[in-house]
Symmetry: C2
Subunit: 211 residues, 2 copies
């Protein structure tokens, strides 16, 4: 059964799912959703995803959304296939979950603000809110300072193994470094930079960017 992934391959949350599918060696096909045409707000799409955001997967009888729920599902269901993304014990997984929550609750909000304001607002003809950008950078900096301390003690966020916690940071950190000129926030932090060099050069992530 080939997994159907609804959503453009360039969308950040879709990329989170695709990086996981490549690591888990799971076959998939992309079902295009044209965000510029508003197809994610069409009635047919809303039947799959009532909040009107990408991605959604269909896998046999299972329809599932929320990118971080989808990656957990494949990491658990195919634990022994491809790269193990959850660690080897229940305690390992607990720490993976801790950093996955930190990504969703602490890292994501300020980096999302920066990407939205600097990359997308100009494209939409909206003025950049410089105060929001300044606050976003300050808040993201505080989070990255904690990451720097953590990554001085372990190679990856959850320990000495690559996991969903690291993977989940790929899409938005890619924007930060490549698209909005804030790469110094990574490069100026030695251990965060080494971590980023490692995870962003993984073959599975390169395949995502090549799509």
């Amino acid at each position: 059964m080939v997994v159907k992934v609804h959503g453009p391959a360039y969308a950040s949350a879709t990329r989170r799912v695709l990086a996981c599918l490549f690591d888990k060696e799971i076959e998939f096909e992309i079902v295009p959703v044209d965000l510029l045409k508003g197809e994610h707000k069409n009635p047919d799409f809303l039947k799959l995803q009532p909040f009107g955001v990408v991605p959604v997967i269909q896998d046999g009888d299972l329809t599932l959304y929320e990118s971080r729920a989808i990656i957990r599902y494949y990491a658990e269901k195919y634990k022994s296939q491809g790269v193990d993304l959850l660690g080897t014990s229940v305690e390992d997984r607990a720490v993976v979950e801790q950093w996955l929550e930190v990504e969703g609750q602490n890292f994501h909000p300020p980096i999302y603000t920066l990407v939205l304001q600097i990359l997308y607002y100009p494209k939409l003809g909206l003025p950049i809110d410089e105060k929001a950008v300044k606050e976003g950078e300050e808040n993201l900096g505080k989070v990255l300072d904690i990451y720097e301390e953590r990554l001085s003690k372990s190679k990856y966020l959850a320990g000495d193994f690559y996991s969903l916690a690291d993977l989940s940071h790929l899409p938005f950190t890619h924007y930060l470094v490549t698209d909005i000129g804030k790469g110094y926030m990574i490069k100026d932090r030695k251990h965060v930079n080494a971590w980023w060099e490692d995870i962003s050069n993984r073959p599975s992530w390169k395949k995502v960017l090549d799509l």
Copy 2:
């Protein structure tokens, strides 16, 4: 081994953890953290939780923070003890994870804004931002409309079984109904209201409120 829970029992994220510990029949002791005295920003606390927020648990050698990571840990580790909070299959858990993510990413931000503005800003001597309150209520209303549709088809969010997804909504919905006078947002939605009546009357939640 008794689980140590650092954080005042009245804090919303601590309550999320305590509700889970009661459901899983796990012994715990509260280690008080006086938020008004700023004890969550003390160096000793920051060694346990670098972001300076409650709760943190200590369980033998494991120190863990992020309330939604902690509840996942206990639900998985003690799957067959107390109430099963993850469903019976990997697919059940996937749907639990979906709604747990919806809680964290869609439900929490607007309800947090409402509670912060209406309950805490006056206590801190800060003026209420009426525009933020209006937007928070609009956004929460849209989320609850989707819940209403979902709960017209299944008794609980992830299906016909109570799970972490429902449990995670308890602390802030309690504020909404009890402390900030917005209970009509629940009562005016028939299925959301039936769900709330059910989950808020569970013995484990009543024990949390009694602490």
